[in-house]
């Protein structure tokens, strides 16, 4: 095991060079923009960043220039970030969801020279030089040690991070190389890390918590990071399972939502008691690996290897933390600020305390001010805000940074954070209430999704006011909830008033912290409106606000009896927007055709309240592709295959010499004449290619039937061939393409029949559009092939019918392989489909 020698590393470019050099051939980053997994080694990353830096140099970026970086998490983001560092320039990472006005403001403030932007981010034209981070040409040769870049000093500014923060105006936090590296060093020592860490990165990289934990730390240890291209649960599951993720950074909100979902699922299945019992048992077992076996269903979906979740960004409730630990996953909660680059304290594996944020990391000293505020000092504390002396002076007191958080040390030396100083509620009696204390009680209640406790100003004094975000299916009266919670609270903490939050979610910062000042502002303004909607289930309230927004009418006009067409003249675009937003924001899919001329708002409410079934998805089944099964198959297949072929299909194979140079994975496109095609093609293939092979089967034929016969033949074919489900429905191809991508990532060659069905006449049919998408996105060589004569062995059955058993007739067959080819990405899907079709006809 090789480690970086931190004594010699003073700046980020040095760290980057050393890490890329030391871990050259280690896999560094994986990314799945479409259906395939792409991975970069550290060496490749080094070369990319160097090539990128070269481009920046040609564009005239000098030492100290500010460069704006906007993009979603991806290896390209990392390359762009380090390219900026290599040039000695200052990175200004911004959220990809920033609006035009904000970006413009930051550009003016920082006098940025250039903007690096992901092509996925939509911005209107900004009057400045812009480069897309994905369009960097592949570097040639071994160039990652190009050292004609300017010298960087450890006290130079490395980046300016803008904190939207929980309060007011954005401020640019200037972080130097030393700030970042000292924090990196201390964080590494606090949480022991090593190179077989496999991390998933889902929090935004422009935020310091993910940047430190999800970029610098893995880089310094040679660990692997998987960037999620989307937060879709299926996409995440794919990453968890295939990359065997064992570490992740999360915000409490994420853990809490998952916790609630697992509980809700258990309740739905009537297993809530069982879950509580198991949790109780698990807590008594000291071995985390045993706990994992108890909760195998949960661990199965996250790939069996999840070991540690580092949690930060906001306070984590004790109950949620304990739940995850009972599942057999370490939860290490830490605490920090952007201003401290970012970590201040963290729990360690051997020093953990539920509910606390741990002990200070090395080099950091903390003390508690008389008013309870946490003060910090250390090499990682920033020097000041960009171009804002006034604010800088405000946050420092005698050389200590005022964190703005209230907290205390317990007798064992663990820090506990009570909440933001700003949001502390001071009652007329002078007693202080921390919203977080009341919130954690409220959030433990059934039916409450989240809550915010704020101090509502009422004639000179403040009252403890709770804002509740209720679950969609909540049936309990909110009054009862508040009354129950009040019983458990201390007398002065008790909730004096409450309102129901009418929107889908609270306003939040990028790390999902509540923006309490916004909540408070809205509550103080709209008190009447909020109380108006008290009695209705929240999802219908939300539906009403969606309708009002889409049709651009005031909320009061949304009445049950009104018809969409007659009363609001809704057109098709509005209908699409309505349906799309219901799907996005309520998670309920409504078929557009269900909203007709006669639909009233009441009808739509009924539609939304009804449970909908979703599109069919076939979960990835890894068993047929396990090495042992592959071995068993390769022994069994010849025993069955060759005698059958000898009996029924005397074979003539042509063009085999074209396959000699091919290695897995390859995509075979064949015409489809009958069910006998598959064994015949198998018989024609050389053993080398046949050993790892999968065949796409129409999912509607074999995978959606419930009868015993179909299920049996499905399992048998999965073992013998193996087949995998591929949908033939229009608009649902995405999941099938992902399935194919996963197989190809595992090195399996794929046989596909792009005509989509057997040809009744023996003639070649036009291809499905999916063929072009596959040909381009999978980026593997394609072999067109042609089968002749199989329709006489087993005649094709009627369309869409499940396979029936025919007694095969003997007939000679011929299989011809065409010249392998690849398709350039620039060709486009439609042209690619045509191209493939021509190639297949040409065989």
């Amino acid at each position: 095991m090789v480690y970086l020698d931190f004594a010699q590393i003073k700046t980020l470019p040095q760290l980057f060079h050393k890490a890329c050099f030391l871990y050259t051939s280690k896999r560094a980053y994986t990314y799945r923009p479409m259906f395939r997994r792409f991975s970069w080694t550290y060496g490749e990353m080094g070369k990319h960043a160097a090539a990128f830096a070269q481009i920046l140099k040609e564009e005239g970026i000098q030492k100290g220039d500010r460069v704006i970086l906007i993009g979603f998490n991806s290896p390209f983001w990392v390359a762009a970030f380090f390219a900026i560092q290599l040039r000695g320039a200052v990175a200004v990472p911004l959220s990809p969801e920033s609006n035009q006005e904000f970006i413009q403001k930051i550009i003016e403030q920082t006098k940025a020279k250039m903007m690096l932007k992901s092509s996925l981010v939509q911005t209107e034209r900004i009057g400045m030089q812009t480069l897309a981070i994905e369009n960097i040409p592949k570097p040639q040769g071994n160039t990652f040690l190009s050292l004609d870049n300017p010298e960087v000093d450890q006290d130079d500014i490395a980046e300016i991070v803008y904190t939207s923060g929980t309060t007011g105006d954005p401020k640019g936090v200037m972080l130097t190389h030393q700030n970042l590296l000292s924090n990196l060093k201390a964080s590494r020592e606090a949480i022991s890390i090593h190179s077989n860490m496999r991390l998933i990165s889902i929090l935004p990289l422009f935020h310091m918590f993910e940047q430190m934990g999800g970029m610098f730390v893995p880089l310094s240890a040679g660990a692997q990071v998987s960037y999620a291209a989307s937060l879709n649960p299926n996409h995440l599951k794919w990453i968890f399972q295939d990359d065997r993720i064992n570490r992740m950074l999360a915000v409490p909100e994420f853990l809490r939502l998952l916790f609630l979902r697992i509980k809700a699922r258990a309740k739905e299945q009537g297993k809530l008691k069982e879950l509580h019992l198991l949790l109780g048992i698990a807590r008594m077992i000291p071995f985390l690996s045993v706990r994992r076996i108890i909760f195998k269903h949960i661990h199965q979906s996250i790939g069996w290897e999840m070991h540690t979740i580092v949690c930060g960004g906001a306070p984590l409730e004790k109950e949620v933390g304990e739940f995850w630990e009972a599942l057999g996953i370490y939860i290490l909660q830490g605490y920090g600020l952007t201003e401290t680059a970012p970590a201040l304290t963290t729990n360690r594996y051997h020093e953990r305390e539920g509910g606390s944020v741990g002990k200070p990391i090395e080099g950091v000293s903390l003390k508690i001010a008389p008013d309870g505020e946490i003060l910090a000092k250390g090499p990682n504390v920033f020097g000041g805000y960009w171009d804002n002396k006034e604010k800088t002076n405000e946050v420092f007191t005698e050389g200590w940074l005022k964190t703005g958080d209230i907290g205390f040390f317990d007798h064992k030396g663990y820090l506990h954070v009570k909440g933001r100083k700003k949001f502390m509620i001071v009652l007329s009696s002078g007693e202080k209430v921390y919203g977080e204390d009341v919130e954690s009680e409220l959030n433990g209640e059934e039916g409450v999704l989240d809550s915010a406790v704020v101090g509502l100003k009422k004639a000179q004094t403040e009252e403890v006011h709770a804002v509740l975000l209720l679950k969609k299916d909540n049936r309990t009266d909110p009054k009862e909830i508040v009354a129950r919670v009040n019983k458990r609270l201390l007398p002065y903490q008790r909730i004096q008033g409450f309102s129901i939050w009418p929107h889908e979610d609270f306003p939040r910062t990028p790390t999902r912290k509540l923006k309490k000042h916004e909540i408070l502002a809205q509550i103080s303004w709209n008190q009447e409106e909020v109380s108006l909607v008290d009695g209705m289930p929240p999802h219908l309230t939300k539906l009403e606000s969606i309708i009002a927004q889409v049709l651009q009418i005031p909320l009061t006009e949304v009445a049950d009896s009104k018809k969409f067409l007659a009363d609001f003249q809704m057109d098709s675009l509005e209908r699409i927007e309505l349906v799309a937003r219901i799907e996005n924001e309520l998670g309920i899919s409504v078929d557009e055709s269900e909203i007709t001329q006669h639909t009233t708002i009441k009808d739509l409410k009924a539609l939304v309240s009804r449970k909908n079934h979703k599109t069919i998805r076939h979960p990835f089944n890894p068993i047929p592709y396990a090495p042992s099964v592959v071995l068993a198959r390769s022994l069994l297949q010849p025993l069955l295959l060759y005698p059958t072929l000898f009996l029924f299909a005397p074979m003539q194979a042509k063009g085999l010499e074209r396959l000699t140079n091919l290695t897995h994975p390859v995509l075979f496109f064949s015409n489809h004449l009958s069910t006998a095609d598959v064994p015949v093609i198998f018989g024609a293939l050389p053993w080398k290619l046949r050993s790892k092979f999968a065949v796409a089967a129409g999912s509607d034929v074999l995978y959606e039937g419930k009868s015993l016969q179909i299920r049996f033949s499905k399992t048998l074919l999965e073992f013998l061939v193996p087949i995998f489900p591929f949908t033939r429905r229009i608009g649902q191809a995405k999941s099938s393409l992902e399935y194919t991508g996963r197989l190809i990532d595992r090195g399996f060659s794929i046989l596909l029949f792009p005509e989509g069905q057997t040809s009744k006449t023996g003639e070649f049919q036009p291809l499905r559009q999916g063929a072009g998408i596959l040909a381009i996105e999978l980026e593997v060589p394609i072999v067109p092939l042609k089968v002749e004569g199989t329709q006489y062995i087993i005649p094709p059955g009627p369309e869409d019918a499940p396979p029936r058993f025919y007694w095969p007739k003997r007939h000679p067959v011929r299989v011809t392989f065409g010249e392998p080819f690849t398709i350039e990405r620039t060709m486009g899907y439609r042209a690619a489909t045509r191209f493939v079709e021509e190639k297949m006809r040409g065989v």
Partner: protein
């Protein structure tokens, strides 16, 4: 002779706003992958107008956006590469169509005629 006609006009800025906000839905339920190759808002507005025109002409249900595919010939003339055919077999064979799309400023308009 049977003739069916449909037309639609799209105000591009509004279309763009809705499209950007609900990209996922448009990708999954309205446009086909091959149409998205022309992913320019003006083009997509034209394609959307053509779909709406065809829906009007044929009296289709609202969930059949993806049953209609707009494509362009080499010379740039648009046509419907795919659309639901009438049930009547005789009509089906002779069924023909013409499609015309036009943009100006902030509007896109499409006319479609089916005849047999």
């Amino acid at each position: 002779m049977t003739i069916k006609i449909g037309s639609d006009i799209v105000y591009i800025p509004r279309f763009e706003k809705i499209l950007r906000r609900n990209k996922e839905y448009f990708r999954e339920h309205v446009f086909l992958p091959e149409e998205l190759e022309y992913a320019k808002v003006r083009r997509l507005a034209g394609i959307f107008a053509s779909k709406e025109a065809a829906v009007k002409a044929l009296g289709l249900k609202a969930n059949q956006w993806q049953g209609i595919c707009v494509a362009y010939e080499e010379n740039g003339k648009p046509y419907l590469a795919k659309f639901p055919l009438p049930k009547d077999k005789k009509l089906r064979r002779k069924w023909k169509h013409e499609l015309s799309i036009s943009h100006d400023g902030e509007y896109a308009i499409a006319n479609v005629i089916f005849y047999a």
